[in-house]
């Protein structure tokens, strides 16, 4: 990157609440994600993890609190604006474009980097064609990186689940995000697929320096690859710290295992 990265955390969530009617899904949660970190957001089902992620990517607007990206307030932005800032994400239940080939799916990740010139595109000529080929070359690098060369022309809808997850990661990476949000990247995968995915996440973090926030249920994975863990329960943050500390935290154990009632 040519610009010097501003100091301070990439993402700051400050006292954010999201409510649907009377239900408070996320309740005054604060957390920050430092540059180059891998941060996990964990918690029991219904704890508000995905809602928090949706608030960060602009689908929901918090009812109170603020969200700042690279020091700038972006609480009220719409999803396309959030994408333009450099935040990419994947979804819990894969949201690929099923009718398009894997290659086209990943190419959509480059849309924000492309310049529009309607007439030239209609003629597929000159700068428009050159631009297509440049982005194709970039996308091919990601295809190599994630080892999906063999399926680049396959319609995304025909792929097995594990590969779909990988293609979705590829689409997010194609946008060259500064912050990558992964919503359960390993859900429903077998052990080998999980290992592959862990390797890719670590590689992305190491090679591109991408900051990553992920939601995950597999504690083994979380403890292995994350720098920090944030635990949510019933919309509230109950713990925040390095994995080794969080796993011993009494509140976390209570949330996961239940508390004996006296």
């Amino acid at each position: 990157m040519s610009h010097p990265a501003p100091a301070g955390p990439v993402l700051e969530v400050d006292g954010v609440s999201v409510r649907f009617g009377a239900l408070i899904a996320v309740n005054q949660v604060s957390l920050s994600v430092g540059r180059g970190q891998i941060v996990a957001i964990i918690g029991p089902n219904g704890a508000g993890k995905t809602t928090l992620l949706n608030a960060v990517s602009g689908f929901y607007h918090p009812y109170e609190g603020r969200i700042a990206f690279e020091g700038k307030d972006r609480t009220r932005l719409q999803p396309p604006d959030v994408a333009a800032l450099g935040i990419a994400r994947t979804f819990q239940n894969v949201a690929l474009f099923k009718g398009m080939s894997v290659l086209d799916n990943i190419m959509t990740g480059r849309l924000l980097k492309m310049r529009g010139s309607f007439l030239l595109e209609a003629l597929y000529w000159g700068p428009a064609k050159r631009q297509e080929l440049e982005h194709r070359a970039f996308v091919e690098r990601i295809i190599d990186f994630l080892e999906i060369q063999a399926i680049r022309k396959t319609p995304a809808g025909r792929l097995p689940y594990g590969l779909q997850k990988r293609v979705e990661l590829a689409r997010a990476l194609a946008a060259e995000p500064k912050l990558l949000l992964l919503d359960e990247p390993m859900a429903g995968m077998n052990v080998e697929e999980k290992e592959d995915m862990c390797r890719f996440i670590l590689d992305v973090n190491h090679e591109f320096g991408t900051t990553i926030a992920l939601i995950e249920h597999d504690m083994g994975v979380v403890m292995d690859i994350c720098d920090r863990v944030v635990v949510l329960d019933y919309g509230r943050k109950i713990a925040d710290g390095p994995p080794a500390e969080v796993r011993k935290d009494q509140a976390v154990l209570d949330a996961y295992l239940g508390v004996a009632h006296e």
């Binding site: 990517s57 689908f59 719409q78 999803p79 396309p80 959030v82 994408a83 333009a84 990419a88 994400r89 979804f91 949201a95 690929l96 474009f97 099923k98 009718g99 398009m100 086209d104 190419m107 959509t108 990740g109 849309l111 924000l112 492309m114 529009g116 309607f118 595109e121 209609a122 003629l123 597929y124 428009a128 064609k129 631009q131 297509e132 080929l133 194709r136 070359a137 091919e140 689409r171 997010a172 946008a175």
Partner: protein, 358 residues
Amino acid sequence: MIYREAGRFKTSYASDQAIFPIVQDRVFVRAAVVAAFVVPPLVAGDYWLQAILIPFLIYALAAIGLNLLTGYAGQLSLGTGGFMAVGAYSAFKLTTAFPRLSIIAVFLLSGLAAAAIGLLFGIPSLRIKGFYLAVATLAAQFFLIWLFNKVAWFTNYASSGTITAPDRTVLGVTVTGPNATAAARYVMALAFVTVFALVAKNLVRGRIGRSWMAIRDRDIAAEIIGVRPLRTKLLAFGISSFYCGVAGAELVFLYLGSAETLAFDINQSFLVLFMVIIGGLGSVLGSFLGAAFIILLPIFLTRLPHSLGLIMSVALQKQIELMIFGGLILFFLIVEPHGLARLWQIGKEKLRLWPFPH
């Protein structure tokens, strides 16, 4: 198949991104286009040109237009007839107001007028989807036809309420109006559909097409990678209506000669939609196949009893024709919902391996 892909190695992304990556395909298609310009005007009689080829080309253009909107961008529209009417009436007003304006410019400007109206009626698409959007576009269809009927200015206060194509020439050849030969009108229609089919193909394989398909397949995921839904959908409405507008202008100027609003009623919208569905949603080739199917089938069915030696009353024949037509549309929807274009693709895949099963 008579040729195979084996031994053809792509060495650049440009060759991989080409419309026809296989060299034989490219040669064949180019030859076919040249032949289409040269052979029918020399060989085909007026009946073939006037009753089959000209309407086929015009409807193919309209079908490409609707396919961009419905097949690629996923926005169901029943306003096609209305947008075609906008094109036709604009062309009529332009030719009468500016008699010296080139007919090619008239067609393009009519397309732009239709595009503007299409944009306007595309605005509800931000809020509503699927069948509900179809109903909203149906409002466009009925409102526009009502407007052209009601406001006599559009027909230059003609007492009959019809618009008539005047004589216009391109490069000294009369291409529209009562004195134009069928061959000249055919070449004109073919030139337009060739250029705009190529433009459509270029659009859908690039940035714009991918954002349309992204909105069609998963609008939420499209937003998260930076596609702005309103802008993208409106662009689809605008371009689609442009195609329909040009097709509407051609329908009057190159095919019917004169028309009233009845020529653009709701049946036209359905006809073009059937072409797109039967041909294949999200396929430019499918638009041609669908148009050919819908134009040719009734003619074939009309002639069938005669060639089989059956004698029946015209009314009965017409009824049977409608029944078979409806039945075939249902058959297609059930057996091959992705249309003729998909059948063509399956056929090609099978032939690649032939004579081996897999």
